[in-house]
């Protein structure tokens, strides 16, 4: 589904990703772990197309609806979303004055339009939003409030998962979705990820520091990112080994 080949990227002329290669197939969940400053968030932003994250080499392709290869790096952020990519933010952004439901309905319908689908009616959208909010145990009243404004850290992360449920991507890149979550919220988010994304036609790239989220969302593959490259790959046991031995011992 996603092929990253020898990806190199700089932020403010400083090279961060230095030849990263990774293949994610449909139906798989991959976890990327690594120390601070390894380039984990940069990878997420580069794949999402954030301005200021400059790709200096390599390629990224995403499988299209009919199995064709889409050059992801050629697309604008909103086109990547319409192609099926979802980026869960480590720090979800507050947008004062813009309600969640208005924003999400417009976003969902913009994606549908780009894919040649009919827009969702107000009623259809609200039904969908209610269902996904229920899945993440989020009060519908919160969805009517301005995007992330006044939300706690945990509520922001749950809101990200509700958005993911509504937008129904085929590939989700989740950047430290577990940070800022208490134990209950961690479980709810984990179960949400499983319910929404654990499908044969979808895939997830989990970017995380810790093993704890992986207790709920069992990865098929675990990779260690250090110095802008994947330095080690393995199965779920690698995450446990990292947790007990540390990055330095395992990645060296």
């Amino acid at each position: 589904m996603l092929q990253i080949t020898d990806l190199q990227a700089s932020v403010a002329d400083k090279p961060i990703l230095k030849g990263l290669s990774l293949t994610v197939n449909a139906g798989e969940i991959h976890a990327i772990m690594g120390p601070n400053g390894a380039g984990k968030s940069t990878l997420g932003y580069v794949l999402g197309g954030r301005p200021g994250y400059e790709v200096t080499g390599g390629s990224v392709t995403l499988d299209g609806q009919n199995g064709e290869k889409i050059d992801l790096l050629e697309l604008d952020p909103h086109e990547r979303a319409a192609a099926g990519l979802f980026l869960g933010f480590q720090y979800p952004v507050e947008i004062p004055g813009v309600s969640n439901v208005q924003f999400l309905r417009e976003a969902a319908n913009a994606q549908r339009k780009a894919r040649g689908q009919d827009p969702l009616s107000g009623g259809e959208f609200l039904k969908l939003a209610r269902e996904k909010a229920g899945l993440l145990r989020m009060d519908m009243d919160m969805l009517k409030r301005p995007v992330n404004v006044g939300f706690s850290g945990g509520e922001k992360k749950r809101n990200e998962m509700v958005q993911m449920g509504i937008l129904d991507p085929k590939l989700a890149i989740l950047d430290e979705t577990d940070s800022g979550l208490d134990i209950d919220a961690l479980r709810i988010c984990g179960e949400g990820i499983n319910a929404i994304m654990r499908r044969p036609d979808k895939a997830v790239l989990l970017i995380t520091h810790y093993q704890r989220l992986l207790d709920y969302v069992k990865p098929d593959f675990v990779h260690v990112l250090a110095g802008g490259r994947i330095v080690k790959s393995g199965g779920p046991e690698l995450a446990l080994q990292l947790e007990s031995e540390g990055y330095e011992a395992v990645a060296a």
Binding site: G48, P51, D76, H78, I95, Q102
Partner: protein
């Protein structure tokens, strides 16, 4: 009276940033008197028309009188609104103004709010969105006269520049001759939050839609609580679409 009929020059503070040629077309500007008797309340939603238009409101509020003024200054090549308010004891004045300009348009609002007696409150919210080579100006003086203790005055002025070629002037001014007063002013000129724009785009909104959504919310701050909030927001949105 004659002096008032002469076209001002840009040496006069209130006209420092104006478009004199356009002002001349609208000159002389009649003073429109509004008097709200003690304990009464009034409201006005002013939607500025096309071409060159200038208005000058002179509002007098009696004791405990209230007035809610909303201004959408967007439609024309030149739009100028001057508002003088004189407030009695415990009177309350609200101004919510949205100014939108593109091309080489000039939109400006000049206010002088005088707290003449104790315990009056005034709230001014001005939001400007400026693109192209447009100029948007807020000149706002709050005067608190001797003895007007318990005054509570606030000015919140923000401008969003869509292009680096646009100009925003914002000058809140306080003149206080009383002791026990609360006067707050906030003033900011900026560009749209790039992180917010990326966030909205990452969910599938095309750039223009993402901008529209954020600007719509920004402008709507001027019309919160207005009696005809919905109509003003719809008119502001129509003006916004022209700018994007």
């Amino acid at each position: 009276m004659l002096a008032e009929l002469a076209l001002p020059t840009r040496h006069e503070e209130d006209y420092r940033y104006t478009d004199l040629a356009a002002l001349e077309a609208a000159w002389p500007v009649a003073r429109e008197e509004i008097v709200v008797a003690a304990g009464e309340s009034g409201q006005l939603a002013l939607v500025m028309g096309e071409g060159a238009a200038a208005r000058h409101l002179v509002i007098t509020l009696g004791d405990e009188a209230r007035f809610d003024l909303r201004v959408l200054n967007a439609a024309g090549h030149f739009g100028r609104v001057a508002v003088d308010v004189r407030m009695g004891r415990a009177a309350d004045f609200t101004l919510g103004c949205a100014q939108l300009g593109g091309g080489d348009e000039t939109v400006e609002i000049v206010t002088e709010v005088t707290h003449a007696e104790p315990d009056a409150t005034s709230r001014q919210v001005v939001r400007s969105v400026l693109g192209g080579k447009a100029t948007g100006t807020y000149l706002g003086r709050v005067a608190v006269e001797r003895g007007a203790d318990g005054t509570d005055a606030a000015q919140s002025v923000r401008a969003m520049l869509l292009d680096r070629t646009a100009t925003a002037n914002a000058r809140p001014e306080l003149e206080i001759y009383a002791d026990d007063v609360k006067c707050a002013h906030g003033c900011a000129v900026g560009e749209l939050d790039q992180t917010g724009l990326f966030y909205l785009q990452s969910r599938g909104l095309p750039p223009a839609e993402a901008k529209r959504l954020m600007l719509q919310a920004f402008v709507a701050e001027a019309f919160v609580g207005a009696p005809d909030e919905e109509r003003l927001n719809a008119a502001a949105l129509a003006a916004l679409e022209v700018l994007l």
